[in-house]
Chain length 419, copies 2
């Protein structure tokens, strides 16, 4: 049964900005850092305490909590048709080691606030509505990231992921058992069960909304990326004696490549995201002409043709700029741009409008659990501004009003899909 425009407006109005903010501040106590951020890595004590509070809140809302084989948590508000495929929202409570209060947490807490709003507006949906807390989105302690949604949508990955060894030597399987023991009995959930729709709220992690004065980002998709490892090989020599013209200086050659690549990637339309974040020189002695440099390229761009074209020129440009050194360029990872569902995007746009929140379409530069959920069901994402676009940083900041606007959009979209 479709909800009316009046129902959706009532749901939006029932979202409580103060309650949502208080939930953020309560969650941020788990792993709080001196600089005002959060260190709450996957399945640590801090993460488990956050998960336990989430369970308590779910029970206060008279919802059930289920957990699957990789530790994803599913908080369910029943619908009128117990056989109907559910609709979900959610994100992740784990953080980077020097993370902020909002990355991930917002998507889960917006879901909890949605449950409150549905209750307050006395809405009954046909389909069950769920809030998901995905395991290990950040990929800090255990690799890879977006692990929970990956296993949920590709159960064949389960065994490999359970064997992941943390940076602290703990095996994920054991960390998960410790969480289960601490949390007490919970319903088990099978992997890969279908959904009728999924929407994830998240801070933008970029400054577009802030710069344009918009409150809601209608995320059109997640941009594709190509990752490369570049190895520049020169020749070690005595830095005080070897004449400059005889040197094969790997740092000079690699620096020339970094500068040249950035120049090639310059893009007036501001679509490309190009980064050399790792740059290692060997042997690394001040008085030895460096014989080798290894550097990593992370290149993302939403435009498939542009990404193909520019990505394809990286190896050639490195060759051209290698001077007397040798260079090898290996592409180690690539993903295509993942579009979100146009129907969900349209619902997000309308929901923003009902909530009087100015919105714009934009593409996500970062990966999210929603990317994996596109394999299962119509999926979308809602972004809200974060200060200066800063994330993965203890200084991460967002306003209570913007978070509430995001929650209003999520609540309407989920309710509309749940009918």
């Amino acid at each position: 049964m479709a909800l009316t425009e009046a129902d959706l407006a009532r749901i939006a109005a029932a979202v409580d900005e103060d309650r949502l903010w208080r939930m953020h501040m309560e969650m941020a106590k788990f792993g709080a850092t001196a600089k005002g951020g959060v260190c709450r890595e996957c399945l640590t004590d801090e993460d488990n305490q956050a998960r336990k509070l989430l369970i308590q809140w779910a029970h206060e809302l008279r919802c059930t909590v289920a957990v699957d084989a990789i530790g994803n948590m599913f908080i369910r508000r029943p619908g009128t048709d117990p056989d109907a495929v559910p609709v979900a929202t959610g994100s992740h409570l784990d953080s980077q080691p020097t993370g902020g209060k909002f990355d991930g947490a917002f998507g889960v807490l917006a879901g909890i606030e949605m449950l409150h709003a549905l209750d307050a507006a006395e809405i009954t949906t046909t389909r069950p509505v769920e809030v998901i807390n995905f395991t290990n989105e950040e990929g800090g302690r255990f690799q890879p990231g977006v692990m929970g949604s990956q296993v949920y949508t590709r159960p064949e990955e389960l065994e490999r992921m359970l064997s992941a060894v943390g940076a602290d030597g703990v095996i994920l399987r054991d960390a998960l058992a410790a969480f289960r023991a601490m949390a007490g009995p919970m319903e088990d959930r099978a992997l890969n069960l279908p959904y009728a729709g999924f929407v994830e709220a998240h801070i933008e992690q970029a400054p577009m909304l802030e710069e344009t004065g918009n409150t809601i980002g209608v995320v059109t998709g997640i941009q594709g990326s190509r990752k490369y490892q570049v190895t520049v090989t020169g020749e070690e020599a005595h830095s005080g004696t070897m004449p400059m013209r005889r040197r094969k200086d790997a740092v000079l050659a690699a620096s020339t490549m970094v500068v040249g690549l950035h120049r090639m990637m310059e893009d007036p339309a501001d679509l490309t995201r190009f980064n050399v974040g790792r740059f290692q020189a060997y042997p690394g002695a001040p008085s030895v002409v460096p014989g080798q440099v290894r550097f990593a390229i992370d290149f993302r761009c939403p435009d498939d043709a542009l990404r193909e074209g520019l990505g394809g020129q990286i190896a050639g440009l490195c060759q051209a700029l290698a001077g007397p050194c040798d260079v090898q360029v290996d592409e180690i990872q690539r993903s295509e741009t993942t579009p979100f569902d146009p129907g969900v995007m349209a619902m997000i746009r309308k929901a923003a409008s009902r909530a009087d929140a100015p919105s714009m379409d934009l593409l996500s530069g970062a990966g999210h659990d929603a990317r994996n959920m596109t394999k299962l069901c119509p999926t979308g994402m809602v972004f809200v501004p974060c200060k200066d676009g800063v994330s993965h940083n203890e200084a991460e900041s967002a306003t209570a009003a913007d978070l509430a606007a995001g929650a209003r959009v999520v609540a309407q979209v989920v309710a509309e899909m749940a009918g």
Copy 2:
């Protein structure tokens, strides 16, 4: 009593190329590596075995062996005047961890060959003649390098140097005691005793002699150097989301500096030696825009005005190329160009001529023990070619004929100074 031209010619003729080569090959067994090089770090078992063989050879030549408080070894052939201040040659038997057969060893073995030649030519000198094996020239296991000659000429440094802790955790004082225990009783030598002259033979570690077809390098001095630590500070950000124009990318800024500095240092006269051998990016994650880079500059140049001028521009150029990042440039070490004694240089030139070895003046790009000995007495250095100028490398190579030519020059110059 001055030796005649005929005496000097007889000494040169008495240098035995085959014997000198055999001594190199015997020494190279201590610490021999699979790649044909030598790993004989200071006061390791390998170095101690090499030192022990040196003592055996000294005794076979009926010379005395003394050792000072830092482990420098002094092999003495008496003169006719027991009160006369001695003349010395020498270098070091320790090597880099991936060093070659000739760096350092040649200067010691040329001295031993000189003792053989003086005996064979039946020369008696007025002054005693010595061959010195300096402790820890390379500065690999224990820091700093050229330690033995530094302590010998600046005894106030002794205690600090004895407390140096090796990369393997061993304290130099203990390593030295182990060598003394293994070597058996030896005469003690006081530090800082005067010399009437010092000459050191060494492979060139650069390709000038090879390129110009000369056999003997008359070393005019050791070039001055300035060393800097550069810290570039940007801002960490998500590499997939932060727009390029908003980034403060420390690797891009530092790479731009490296390229710009190399361009500034370009020198048609080929005097400058400029190196960025250490380049460290933080946090070093492929998907994080790097927030900091620290890199090290080793800048050497024999021309004082040029070194002052170019060195003085380094900080300004880094500032100009920092883009949105901050940069701090700290000069952490500087040394002036050290000239060698013109009288010793003239003797080297004449000795090369007597030995029919084509010679050229050149400056040493690297530091050597001879730099410290200039504080005590008229000092010079004799270079011989090494293949492709390669040193500090297991591939280091020199010919028996060139080594013998160097030994012929050293033997004549020491004999001439010893009278």
